[in-house]
Symmetry: C2
Subunit: 238 residues, 2 copies
């Protein structure tokens, strides 16, 4: 569903490009992004599919998007999650096409930014250009914790990653998971069973608390220690 044309907002990584009044120091961002259109996706709706030629970057205005890639052996793997405020599609700049399927995890509002117009636009201001390079480079080595071997470290790192990226900012480490367990497991290259066992262990050790979709990080420092491999998650009682 298309809401309108060329609307701008202040709700993504490019905010200073849209809302110069937010920060005096950002006052050089005095123009608005050439947003082609804003989309509203229902849960499960698809934004793009593999082998579609690259044309647009996308900004998540509100909601959560997952990208899924089907391996040549048929396996379906989650490649990435994108939450409110985040930009995605950079990888397709290099590849010339999208290689994954982008699907909404919940009702989501997404801005479609035409890359050609976008390039033209940012050329008008050196600071914009620098900002965009900065944003693009922030995607290098995203989720590098997936390289870790230990399932516990991966889960701990993922939870911390989530708490940093999920908006609105978690009050006392409280998050509402927009992602089903299966997708988290797939993203972390674990089985749902292993993920479940580790959550249970974290809960028993009072590191996190879980109530359906509501997740509370009770001891973020300890979680960081586990993620870094500095701390053993110890207790294995029942």
């Amino acid at each position: 569903m298309i809401i309108n044309h060329y609307q701008t907002c202040g709700e993504c990584e490019f905010t200073p490009l849209c809302l110069p009044q937010i920060d005096q120091k950002m006052s050089h961002f005095n123009q608005c992004l050439p947003i082609q259109r804003q989309l509203v996706l229902k849960k499960g709706e698809i934004l793009f599919t593999p082998h579609t030629p690259f044309q647009c970057l996308y900004a998540v205005k509100l909601g959560a998007i997952k990208t899924v890639q089907t391996e040549s052996n048929g396996e379906e793997l989650i490649r990435n999650f994108y939450f409110t405020g985040e930009i995605f599609g950079y990888k397709a700049i290099h590849q010339g096409e999208y290689r994954s399927t982008a699907k909404a995890l919940c009702e989501s509002h997404v801005c479609e930014i035409n890359y050609r117009e976008f390039l033209h636009f940012i050329q008008q201001n050196p600071h914009l250009q620098e900002h965009v390079m900065y944003s693009a480079c922030s995607h290098i080595n995203r989720g590098s914790y997936l390289h870790t071997k230990s399932a516990e470290r991966k889960v701990a790192a993922f939870l911390l990653d989530l708490s940093n990226r999920l908006h609105p900012f978690p009050i006392k480490g409280v998050l509402y998971l927009p992602i089903p367990r299966q997708d988290i497991a797939s993203y972390l290259r674990l089985t749902p069973e292993t993920l479940s066992r580790i959550s249970t262990k974290f809960i028993r050790n009072k590191i996190i608390a879980v109530d359906k979709r509501k997740l509370t990080l009770l001891k973020p420092e300890l979680l960081q220690g586990i993620a870094d491999g500095r701390v053993e998650s110890k207790i294995e009682f029942r």
Copy 2:
């Protein structure tokens, strides 16, 4: 060792920015990169260390560089390899500093490109700008095969990755490995023992041939099949 100032060359990803005559279609790249200086590193010499403020991108003119990161638990992990023609340092644009140690795997020639000057330079030409975004985005999801669980798939994918990136282009799939086994193992998050066992298996199955540092890919298609998880590497005889 500093060779000279503001020299340019045609031996990296930014080649068309330096050598417009290579391709008529690239004739808009009519200026030269503001290279601060060219360095020659002996084997084992260090280019930068963690916590150094970001200032420069680096282009490998010739040779091979590894980046090593010390985890907070003391473990030393290889983060990346960079070969002839490749650019590195993009990640530090976002982080504001280098987070790893860059070390030469063999005698290497490296161009140090001042990022401030570089930004200023590319602003003069929209096509350069696009090219640089393209280059930066090519680094997103580099080495995504590290996410794989199977050691065999990782090794197969790594060998193919190498054969695509090692210059001069391999004749009939022949490469000269500039990387010690231990570093390969660390990069792949495997032990040297596991890597060794898998190489042996590949050799027994006549998928590759190894003579010290000389590596021949005998069946690249099969290797691709293993990397993709489509093929079992079968035979386990002795």
